[in-house]
Amino acid sequence: MVEVTLAVKNELGLHARAAARLVRTANRFQSSLRLERVDGTLAADAKSILNVLMLAASGGTELRAIAEGHDEAEAIAALSGLFENGFGELES
C-alpha cells in the first residue's frame, strides 16, 4: 500500500474536466485507488467520476491518495503528477 497527501492546485478544483482526467488516469492501473479528504469527511474511488465529483474538492483542498496493488507505486506517481500540474490548468 502506498499513501500520499496531495493538494488541489487549480483554482476550480476537481470539476468536470479535471475529474475526467483524474479518472482516466486512475483507470489505467490495476491497483485500487482511493481518495480521501484529509479531514476524513469524504472518500472516493478514484476510478469513478461520480464519486470523485462528490468529493467537492475545490481549489486548495488536501486529499490523501491510497493505492493498493501490484502497480501501486506507478499509480501514485501518475496521480501526483496530475495534481502537481493542476490538471493542466495552471497558468503557464
Binding site: R17, I49, S58, E91
Partner: protein, 608 residues
C-alpha cells in the same frame, strides 16, 4: 415530402422576430430538455438477465452517440468545448453506477428504465446537496446522461440523427451548451420561443447562413418532431402543418428567389463602392471555428471583430498563454493581410462568465469586460502576451471592450506596454499591435473625443450601445418592443462617436449586428460610417445594396432621422424614403415594419 393529407391537422401561423433571413420548408425537429416519463414494472426472475442486457446495450448505444457528439463539438466549437462530453462518457463508464443499477434490477426485479430513473434521481439529490456552486451544477450533466440512457432504452433514437437533411430545429431556447449537440451544419432553420436579435441562436444561425426566427412564444407546445413546417423569415412568419396550397406557394417562392438572386460574388473584394464613389470596407465578425470558412468565402476584408471569450469553454478556467497564442495565430493567418481585431475577453454580464457574475444583482452594469480584465490582471497579462506574440504571425490589433472613459484605456495600455517590454527582454518574437476602444456605453460616447486621443481606432458595438443607451435588457422578451436600434438617441450616439473619430483622424469600425441588415447599413453609412464588420454571410447582401446607393442620399436621410423624436418616426422615414429612392433594392418587407400599427393591435387585443 410533407405528411400525407388524410389526417393532417389544420394549418397554423405564428409571427416572430426574424433574426436570420431565408425561406425553407422542412420538418420539425423538436429539441427539449423535457423529463421522460418512466414507470415501474415488476419483472419475472427469469427476465432479470434480459433487463441487464438491455441496460448494457443502452449504455453502449449512448456511448456511441456521445463519441460522435464529442467529435462534432470539437470541429464546430473547438477542442476545448468538447471536454464536457468526455465527462459524460466517463459517467456512462462509471462502474459504481452501473453496478448499482444492475443490482437494483436483480434485487427489486425492476425494469431497466425504472432502475436507471431511481438511481439517477438518487444521485441527483446527492449532488443537489453539494455546497460548491460549480460542482452542484454538474447535476445537469448527470441529468443529460440519464436522459440519454433512458432514450436508448425506449428505442428512440435522438431525432437529430435521423432528420438531419430537412430538420427545422424548434426549441424553447437554445443554450450555448445545446448547440454543440446539434448537427447545425445540416439544419435548415432554427426557430425558438424565446430569444432576441442578439441571442446565441441568432448569432450562430447568421454565422451558418441559415434562416432563424425567435420570440415565437408558444410554438413549442404545438410542434411535434416530424410535423411539416414553413419558416419564412422574410415575412417574419412560421407556418405549422402547412396546407398543400401553402406548400405549393412556398415552393414557388423558393424557386422564384433562387432564380431572381443575382449571382453572389464567389469571393468579393470586401469593399463596397457607392454610385458616387464612396468606399465602404466590409469585415467579418467571428467567434467559433465553424464560422472561419466564411471569412474568405464571402470575401471579408479581414476580421473586424474576433470575440475571444468564445475560446473559453468554461467560466473561470483560463487558457494557458500557449493555447491562446496558437488560437490567435490561427486567427491572424485566417485574416490575411487585412488583419484581425481581437476583442479582449468580454466576460461577466450575459456573456457566460457565470462564476464572475453569479453574485451580482445587476451583471450588465457590473464586473464585466475591461473591468473584469483590469481586476484580474493575470488573465489580462496572459492574453495580451499571447496576442503580441501571435501578431508576429500576422497583423493583430487589440480592442478593449466596454471602456467607460480614458482611465480604463490608460490602465490597459500601461499593462500592454509592460508586457511588450517583458517579451522583448525574453527575446520572444513580437508583432506591432494597435490598441482600440469599443464605444458601447454612454459615458464613452460623451467622452469620445477625449478617448480618441489615446487610442489608435474605435469600434462601435451597436448591440451593447442600444442596450445601454436605451436601458433595455436585450435578452428580456418583455421589453423587446423598447429595444430599437433605430432610436434617435442611438443614432445620435453613433453619429457623435464617428465624428470624434474623424476629427482625431482615427478609423472607426461599426461592428454590431446592425451592420448586417442592409437597411441599417445604409443608415450607418448616412451617419458617416465607412468601415463595417458583420457576420460573414451578410457581406454579399450588404455589398449589393451599398453598391446601389448614392451615399449623399443616405446622408440626407440620416440627417432627417437624427432630427426625429422617436424610433417610430425614424422607422417611418427609413421606410418611406428608402421605398421612394431605392425601390429595386428594398422590397417593402426588408424595411422596418410599422411598429405603431402593431402596438395598436396589441392594445386592442388587451381591451377585448
Amino acid at each position: 415530402m410533407i405528411a400525407d393529407a388524410s389526417s393532417k391537422p389544420a394549418e397554423r401561423r405564428w409571427q416572430g422576430l426574424s433574426v436570420s433571413e431565408g425561406l425553407v420548408l422542412g420538418r420539425v425537429l423538436r429539441i427539449h430538455r423535457g423529463t421522460k416519463h418512466v414507470y415501474p414494472a415488476r419483472i419475472e426472475v427469469g427476465d432479470v438477465a434480459r433487463e441487464i442486457k438491455r441496460f448494457r446495450e443502452a449504455v453502449d448505444q449512448a456511448k456511441t452517440q456521445l463519441l460522435a457528439i464529442k467529435d462534432r463539438a470539437a470541429n464546430l466549437m473547438g477542442q476545448d468545448h468538447a471536454y464536457i462530453f468526455d465527462a459524460h462518457l466517463l459517467m456512462l463508464e462509471d462502474r459504481k453506477l452501473s453496478e448499482e443499477i444492475e443490482n437494483f434490477i436483480t434485487r427489486k426485479r425492476a425494469n431497466a428504465e425504472w432502475a436507471v430513473k431511481v438511481l439517477g434521481d438518487r444521485l441527483l439529490s446527492v449532488y443537489a446537496e453539494i455546497k460548491d456552486d460549480y460542482l452542484r451544477e454538474r447535476g445537469s450533466d448527470i441529468e443529460d446522461v440519464i436522459h440519454r440512457v433512458l432514450e436508448a432504452l425506449s428505442g428512440e433514437r435522438p431525432a437529430y440523427l435521423d432528420l438531419v437533411e430537412e430538420a427545422v430545429i424548434v426549441s424553447e431556447d437554445l443554450l450555448p451548451s445545446a448547440v454543440a449537440e446539434l448537427d447545425l451544419g445540416h439544419a435548415r432553420a432554427i426557430v425558438t420561443d424565446a430569444g432576441g436579435w442578439t441571442s446565441h441562436t441568432a448569432i450562430i444561425a447568421r454565422g451558418l447562413g441559415i434562416p432563424a426566427m425567435v420570440g415565437l412564444e408558444d410554438l413549442c407546445q404545438h410542434a411535434r418532431t416530424g410535423d411539416g413546417i414553413v419558416v419564412d423569415s422574410y415575412n417574419s412568419e412560421v407556418v405549422l402543418h402547412p396546407s398543400n396550397a401553402t406548400i405549393a406557394q412556398c415552393l414557388a417562392e423558393i424557386q422564384r428567389r433562387a432564380g431572381a438572386r443575382p449571382a453572389a460574388p464567389a469571393s468579393g473584394t470586401g469593399i463596397a463602392l457607392t454610385s458616387d464613389g464612396l468606399q465602404v470596407r466590409l469585415r467579418a465578425n467571428v467567434e467559433l471555428p465553424a464560422e472561419f470558412a466564411g471569412v474568405s468565402k464571402y470575401g471579408a476584408l479581414g476580421i473586424g471583430l474576433y470575440r475571444s471569450e468564445f475560446l473559453l469553454a468554461q467560466p473561470g478556467v483560463m487558457l494557458s498563454e500557449e493555447k491562446q497564442y496558437r488560437a490567435y495565430s490561427e486567427v491572424a493567418e485566417l485574416a490575411g493581410e487585412n488583419g484581425a481585431v481581437v476583442r479582449l475577453f468580454d466576460l461577466g454580464g450575459d456573456k457566460g462568465g457565470d462564476s464572475v457574475a453569479d453574485s451580482e444583482r445587476n451583471p450588465a452594469l457590473g464586473l464585466r469586460a475591461i473591468r473584469f480584465c483590469l481586476l484580474n490582471e493575470t488573465v489580462l497579462r496572459t492574453q495580451v502576451r499571447a496576442i503580441i506574440r501571435a501578431a508576429a504571425k500576422g497583423q493583430l490589433d487589440i480592442v478593449l471592450p466596454m471602456v467607460a472613459d480614458v482611465s480604463d484605456v490608460m490602465r490597459a495600455r500601461e499593462i500592454i506596454t509592460q508586457e511588450r517590454a517583458k517579451l522583448e527582454k525574453e527575446n520572444e518574437d513580437c508583432g506591432p499591435v494597435r490598441v482600440g476602444a469599443m464605444i458601447e456605453v454612454p459615458s464613452a460616447v460623451f467622452t469620445a473625443e477625449k478617448i480618441a486621443r489615446v487610442v489608435d481606432f474605435f469600434e462601435l458595438g451597436t448591440n451593447d450601445l442600444v442596450q445601454y443607451v436605451l436601458a433595455v435588457d436585450r435578452s428580456n422578451d418583455k421589453v423587446a418592443d423598447w429595444f430599437r436600434s433605430l432610436h434617435p438617441a442611438v443614432l445620435e450616439s453613433i453619429s457623435r462617436t464617428l465624428k470624434a473619430a474623424r476629427d482625431a483622424a482615427i478609423p472607426a469600425i461599426v461592428c454590431g449586428e446592425m451592420a448586417s441588415t442592409p437597411a441599417y447599413a445604409v443608415v450607418l453609412v448616412g451617419l458617416g460610417a465607412t468601415d463595417l464588420s458583420m457576420t460573414p454571410s451578410s457581406i454579399p447582401r450588404v455589398t449589393r445594396v451599398l453598391n446601389g446607393i448614392d451615399s449623399r442620399d443616405a446622408v440626407a436621410i440620416a440627417t432627417e432621422c437624427l432630427a426625429c423624436a422617436t424610433a417610430d418616426e425614424v422607422e417611418e422615414i427609413v421606410r418611406e424614403r428608402f421605398l421612394a429612392r431605392w425601390p429595386q433594392l428594398f422590397p417593402p418587407r426588408t424595411l422596418p415594419a410599422k411598429k405603431t400599427q402593431q402596438r395598436v393591435d396589441h392594445m386592442q387585443d388587451r381591451e377585448r
